[in-house]
Symmetry: C2
Subunit: 415 residues, 2 copies
């Protein structure tokens, strides 16, 4: 009888745990927090789940938030700069956003209700040897610093030694609902702004996230400490929206705009890092890296939770189809997970750089052709296609040729 231990109760750990329970496999999740601690913690991320993730959720019976007001199909893209432009595309399957505290706490309850074992409390790297004695395989899916360090960093896929964006994201009041709309704003030299509806502990909030280029004004504002001066923090963000995000600002009520609760804010930065997918423990058992432990990406492409879910399912299928969890097993699943992950890593890292001409051409084409616009917004659902199209001028040209795109207008090439 296979027995799996999972360290970490984020999207990766929970989707894997729920998959394994659905297959009747004995599974333990070592969760840092109880559901109650999760519900009352700082918001850990701002996540939009795309269609393929939602399909797996339906198969697992954890689609508790379907049909609410936090689904969205229309992505409004706005590109600032000297020649602002914008377009709106529709995704084929609606995305959904739920406060991750509610989502993760609830899925941990579901896992326990379905016969999963839950051990609450922090796990240290030094605990892994002992834990491995109880399981055929340990899956490490917790982003805690000491735990990720167990898996060696792969320098060739980890081009950065520091965060490429300062992230400031949270739940905000005073932004009127645009039903079923998510907005994405690119501000050259400053960064990106994401905004969408979200299901949380109260209605009528919008998730709002700034990705700030180091040294930019976005960064200066995004690093303000809310606790020091809530009014100054809110006013700072409001100023950024007024100046750079007209499609959000037109829905803002300046009198009520502001962070909903102090714990509804997340500030920080991540260094994109790819790690070796498994390690052999002294016990002879193996520990596999999953989710952010395997590859941490900047949230700029919104792939973190969706990749975690996708690869958890891959691993779940591999586990339920195997009865030995030796190095060959680990090597094979590592390769499969990497094959899926590599384009996401490449795409996410490319989006952190100043846009190359073919990226600008793609945006211009989307602004002028609705079919291109729809294809563009569906890239968030199909990150492999996204990277395939964006990885070079040649690929973008080939992609746009399908839409009878005649190349960049002369005026803009001259600009």
């Amino acid at each position: 009888m296979t027995n799996i231990g999972i360290v970490g109760a984020g999207v990766a750990g929970l989707h894997l745990g729920l998959y394994l329970r659905q297959q009747g496999i004995e599974t333990t999740i070592y969760a840092e927090k109880t559901p109650g601690q999760e519900f009352s913690s700082r918001i850990p991320a701002l996540v939009a789940r795309v269609g393929h993730t939602r399909e797996r959720e339906r198969k697992l019976g954890i689609n508790h938030w379907d049909g609410g007001n936090s689904e969205f199909s229309h992505l409004h893209v706005y590109v600032g700069g000297e020649q602002p432009m914008g377009f709106s595309g529709t995704v084929e399957q609606p995305f959904i956003a739920v406060d991750m505290r509610i989502y993760l706490g609830r899925l941990l309850e579901d896992f326990a209700a379905r016969g999963g074992h839950v051990v609450a409390g922090a796990v240290q790297a030094s605990d892994l040897e002992q834990l491995s004695a109880n399981h055929d395989l340990l899956v490490v899916a917790s982003g805690r610093a000491g735990l990720t360090d167990v898996f060696p960093r792969l320098a060739e896929y980890s081009p950065f030694d520091r965060p490429q964006r300062w992230i400031c994201m949270g739940l905000f009041r005073g932004i009127a609902d645009a039903p079923s709309v998510c907005s994405v704003t690119f501000v050259p030299g400053e960064g990106e702004i994401f905004e969408f509806p979200i299901y949380s502990f109260e209605p009528n909030l919008r998730g709002l996230g700034f990705e700030a280029v180091p040294g930019s004004n976005f960064e200066a504002v995004g690093q303000l400490r809310y606790e020091d001066d809530p009014a100054a923090f809110n006013a700072g963000l409001l100023g950024l929206l007024r100046e750079h995000a007209p499609q959000i600002y037109e829905r803002v009520d300046p009198a009520t705009f502001g962070l909903a609760r102090p714990l509804d804010l997340l500030q920080g930065g991540v260094t994109p890092t790819v790690r070796h997918g498994y390690v052999r423990l002294n016990s002879g058992k193996y520990a596999l890296a999953l989710g952010d432990v395997q590859a941490t990406n900047d949230p700029i492409t919104g792939q973190g939770a969706n990749k975690a879910s996708y690869t958890a399912w891959m691993l779940g299928e591999a586990i339920s189809g195997s009865d030995t969890f030796d190095e060959a097993f680990c090597e094979q699943i590592e390769q499969r997970i990497w094959a899926y992950t590599a384009p996401i890593v490449n795409w996410s890292n490319a989006m952190l750089q100043p846009p190359q001409p073919h990226m600008i051409e793609l945006l211009v084409a989307a602004a002028q052709n609705q079919d291109v616009a729809n294809a563009f917004v569906n890239f968030f659902e199909r990150p492999q296609q996204a990277w395939d199209v964006m990885k070079s001028q040649e690929q973008t040209t080939k992609f746009l040729a399908q839409y009878n795109w005649q190349g960049m207008p002369q005026m803009q090439v001259a600009a």
Copy 2:
């Protein structure tokens, strides 16, 4: 400087604490649960907050759930039996329902963020003496058994020695939304059914509560243990809806109907009890009873949380207008609280009895006259008027005369 201690973090304790903090008064709440423990606990009640409660919430800045999908203005009343009848009335100010775990946990966070002191953990009756040393006045607003017993039961206002209804209430899936609608169903000999939208940890749930007359079929079904057999529990309630609540059943999808989560269910009964409003402690300080400690009512009239809020505000005003908290203070506020509470107690207790002819006449009149129907549903907002109208045939006759009511149709009098 006045310093108040409040034992209990329900609606009474929190509204009082938030009121006192708004006045700048030093206040400590002894809360059995942290917000996280509250968020992850069993649902403690199914509460609809009426207009006057919502006005106070706006004044306190705790109206976090306004403008969502859990407000309702239209009360659909259905009376079963041999001659079924029904009517729909509109309340002047919309009611709202929020999962009390989310509501109470959040208000405790608000209290702490506004400089209130929170001490988490259970308080026993034997702790009151020691706690009183730190405060000018102790307010006891926790329904824990030992604590209520500190305040002597007033037999003359407490006619029952056991619960008059078995209560089975919870959050359910598979009941289609009827926007802005609450339904109330009276089933002669069986009990009552309440159903309304509610804001909880997931969208599209309905609050559904059965008040079961002892010995009835409602009671037999309402006492089924969910954990023993979830499918049988759900099927039992579905059967009651099919047979007795057509206005709910027509919105039910039998394939998906059921309790949302095991912790979303509350079963039990309360013995309506009025208690002496204060006691002198050995320390020489006084302890005041508030909320359910002062008067526990059956939830049949939906007044518990609303009365708790109203009387908390009364007490808050009295405290901020006084600097001595001696027996005279306690006696005066007890009398004022009782003057407000007595009609609610009388009305709630009367509704637990088989309906008298004038009550039936009132329902018949409401079914035939829209103005009476509107007045009837507004009784939940105005419990004093409710009791004034319902306390006798004379009063009902006088009330209905305003609407040119000609008395009961002969046919029904003969029936």
